[in-house]
Symmetry: C2
Subunit: 221 residues, 2 copies
DNA sequence: CGTCCAATTGAAACAAGTCAATCTATGTGG
DNA sequence: CCACATAGATTGACTTGTTTCAATTGGACG
C-alpha cells in the first residue's frame, strides 16, 4: 500500500530517518479529525475506512465536498494555508496515517518525488471536483444518485455487495438533496430491482441498467 | 502584468532564450480556443477579456465549469493529460498569451519557480471548485445568483458599473439554472433596486444589501 | 424597415423540499 | 425476556422552487 502512496519507494525507516513523523492511528466511526477553520497540524493518508470532508454554510446547511476511501489523502491544504478548509469526519472505523505538516513540508522540498506526488493528487482532486460541478449543476436528483452509486461501487472491482457506510442524510449532503428525497429515490431503485441494501452494504446487480438512469434523454457514457 | 504571471521575473526575451514559444494573440468574442477532448497543444494566459470553460454531457446539457478573466490561466491540464478536459470559448474579444505545452513542460522542469507557480494555480483552482460545489449543492437559485454577481463585481475594486459579458443562458449554465429562471431573478433584483444593467455592464450599488439574498435564514459571510 | 437573437413574461407541469407521522432495527436497563 | 428509548429510514400530504413551453418584447444591425 505504501507503493501507491506519496512515499512510493520509501520505507517507514527511511521516512523516520528523514525526520518525518508518521503515526498510524485507528479511530472509531463519527470521529472528527479536524474542523473547518482549525489550524492545520496534520495531513492524513487513509488506509482503511471512509471519511467525509464537509463545508458548512453560516446558516447551518452542510455540504459534503469530498468522500475519501482507501488510498486517498486529505488535509494537505495545510501545506499552502494555515487553516483547514473543511471538516474531516470518519464514516466508519478508520485506519489513518497521520503526517506532521511541517515535517512533510520539509520532506516535500527535499524529495521531488514526494512533491510531485502531492501535486498530482491536487490535480486529480481538481479534476474530480470539476466533474462534481457538472453533476450538481447539470443533472437531476435521480441522475446524480444513480451516477454516484455506480461510481462508488466501481471502486470495488470484485463486484457483488460492497461496503456502503453512508446514511440517507449524508447522501443528501453529498448530492445536494434532502434526506427524504434520497430515501424515496433509493426505494424506487430497489422497487425496480436496480439495487439492494443490507445493513451497511450495497449491491448493484447490473450497473449498466442503473446507469441508464444517470443521464436521461440520450445515450450515456 | 507579467509580474503576477507564472513567469514572474522573466522577460519575454528570457523566455525566448529558454526555448519557450510565446505567442500573443487577439481573438474575437465567441471563439473556440479548443474543444473538450481535443489533443492539448497549448496552454493560455488571459491578458484581457473573458473565457468560459465548458463541459457537455452526452445528452447535450452544458455546464460552465469555470469563468476566467484577466490574469487567469487555462489549458494547463495539458501538462498532465493528453487531451483537454473542457472546451474553452471566449465571451468577449480577448487578448491571450499562447504557450506551447511541450516547451512549457520543459521550462517547468528546469525552473522551480515556474513549476511552483503552476502548482499554486492548481491549488487555487481546487479551492475555487470546492466553493462552487457548495454553492451548487447547498444553495437555492436566488442565493447562487446573488453570491455570484457580488463575487464577479468584487474583482473590480473601483466599484461602479463593471463589464458583464454573460448572457442569461451562460449565467444559467454556470449556476445550474434555466435561462428563464435566471431572467426572472435578475428582473426581481432590478425591481428591488439591488442592481442595474446597461448593455454589457452591471452595477451593484450596495453589495452588502445584495449579499443578504446570498444565504437566507441566518447571517452570512 | 425587417431580421435576428437575447431577454422577458405568463401559465402550466414537474421536481424537490418540508413537515409530520410511522416504521424498523438496535440497544438499554429493569 | 421484556418494555422502552433511540436513531435512521420510510411514507404521505402538502408547499415551494424550478423548469418547460409558448408567446411576446426589445434592441442591434444590416
Amino acid at each position: 500500500m505504501r507503493d501507491r502512496s506519496i512515499f512510493a519507494g520509501l520505507s517507514l525507516d527511511d521516512l523516520r530517518a528523514l525526520g518525518m513523523e508518521v503515526q498510524d492511528i485507528r479511530v472509531p466511526a463519527a470521529s472528527t479529525l479536524y474542523l473547518e477553520g482549525d489550524r492545520a497540524r496534520y495531513a492524513y493518508t487513509l488506509r482503511q475506512g471512509a471519511v467525509k470532508l464537509v463545508k458548512t454554510l453560516p446558516n447551518g446547511r452542510a455540504q459534503i465536498v469530498r468522500l475519501l476511501r482507501h488510498g486517498d489523502l486529505f488535509g494537505f491544504e495545510g501545506l499552502r494555508e494555515a487553516r483547514h478548509r473543511h471538516s474531516a469526519i470518519t464514516l466508519t472505523q478508520t485506519d489513518l496515517c497521520q503526517l506532521d505538516l511541517p515535517a512533510l513540508e520539509a520532506l516535500s522540498q527535499r524529495l521531488p518525488s514526494v512533491h510531485g506526488a502531492i501535486t498530482q493528487r491536487w490535480f486529480s482532486a481538481l479534476q474530480e471536483a470539476e466533474n462534481r460541478i457538472v453533476e450538481l449543476g447539470a443533472k437531476k436528483a435521480e441522475e446524480r444518485l444513480a451516477t454516484f452509486l455506480c461510481q462508488w461501487c466501481s471502486a470495488y472491482p470484485q463486484g457483488g455487495a460492497v461496503p456502503f457506510p453512508l446514511t440517507r442524510q449524508e447522501l443528501g449532503e453529498f448530492l445536494g438533496l434532502s434526506t427524504e428525497h434520497v430515501s424515496r429515490l433509493m426505494a424506487e431503485f430497489k422497487r425496480q430491482g436496480l439495487l439492494s441494501e443490507r445493513k451497511g452494504t450495497l449491491d448493484i446487480p447490473d450497473s449498466r441498467r442503473l446507469l441508464q438512469h444517470a443521464c436521461t434523454s440520450g445515450a450515456c457514457a
